[in-house]
Symmetry: C2
Subunit: 214 residues, 2 copies
């Protein structure tokens, strides 16, 4: 076991990013059945290089998931001049963005990989996906909710509770059905409709003009 450069330590070269993109494409197409040989062929590189750069198969998978995660860093929330209209549209955009990402082939493939490797004693892909999936959404959304509360538009005690309810209203059974392979038509307009409904229901539960939660 020689010392291998951790992907998080050193920034990736362009060639390495190309290799990871190739791996990502194969992950989407073939899922967990992707082989080191297929990655090498797709990326037009040698297996030796794969092992030198990423250590082993698990390292390659981890680096691929992290690479995709690094591509979808979220936008931040600006706290100024928040009224009901902008809060509503902000929540709706969050919801539709989330559904769009969630139903994308890449997200489905990565979640599948992470789920099937969960509980393994090796590097934990599940933690990475959690960190860049639900937890990232929470980090982006919870400040917005609290700003809404400070502006007197929302009423709740526990921000995380409120977030998780919003999550449930938005995602419902969509993600698990996608992961389990259910054929799923989720058009752009359907996503926008879902986002509007979820936001509306969230206001019905946590809007300041109604009774608070709990």
């Amino acid at each position: 076991m020689q010392s291998v450069a951790e992907p998080s330590d050193s920034p990736l070269t362009e060639r390495q990013r190309d290799v990871l993109d190739a791996a990502l494409g194969l992950l989407v197409e073939a899922g967990d059945t992707l082989t080191m040989t297929s990655v090498a062929r797709r990326a037009s590189c040698s297996k030796e290089t794969l092992y030198k750069w990423f250590g082993d198969r698990d390292g390659l998978l981890t680096a691929t998931v992290q690479w995709q995660a690094s591509k979808v860093r979220g936008v931040t929330v600006k706290r100024d001049g928040l009224d009901l209209i902008s809060l509503t549209s902000g929540l709706e955009r969050f919801a539709s963005d989330w559904l769009r990402v969630l139903s994308g082939k890449i997200s489905v493939a990565l979640n599948r990989i992470a789920v099937s490797h969960a509980g393994s004693d090796k590097r934990d892909l599940g933690a990475i996906v959690l960190e860049n999936g639900p937890f990232a959404m929470a980090r982006r959304l919870m400040p917005l909710l609290e700003v809404g509360r400070e502006a007197g538009l929302l009423a709740f005690d526990d921000t995380e509770e409120a977030f998780r309810t919003f999550f449930g209203l938005v995602v419902r059974d969509v993600q698990i059905r996608l992961l389990l392979g259910d054929r799923f038509e989720l058009t752009e307009v359907a996503i926008d409709g879902e986002a509007r409904r979820a936001t509306q229901q969230f206001f019905a539960l946590y809007g300041a003009h109604t009774n608070g939660a709990g």
Copy 2:
């Protein structure tokens, strides 16, 4: 390829059920890394018998998932004398039962297997899990919701819409976090609390005394 008795065709013998129980235990412990050899050893049977009974590894997994599914057939809904109290308690029991099953080791293991095999061109475990998971819950719950509507206690247009919202309020991010390997404390009292909250929120959205949905 000789003709193999499909598990759905012929009822299982007691010995076969024992074998499948052994496979189920290994599935929970080892996940998808279970080997035919390990199942044969655990079940004290020969590999030849496994192949004769179940065809191949995939057939064994499928039979195991179906066997577990057949064990958790749900209870039916009685339509008589439904008032607000019994509807509420019915929904709460549904929710708590669902969360209890969902967070169980067997459910997590089976969903992991099904997710990691989804998209394969072989027998579709995902469809089986979907059928006996979310869809089974829908089949059990939707009649109850409609009875509640007929009794003037609930107001909604689309029963499936209402069910999926209930699903979202109950499950939220619990299942995906469990599948991704997040350590999760979900005690009995916590489950009951979650069930009460979800039911309460569902009434806030779909109760007949409030505005209907959409």
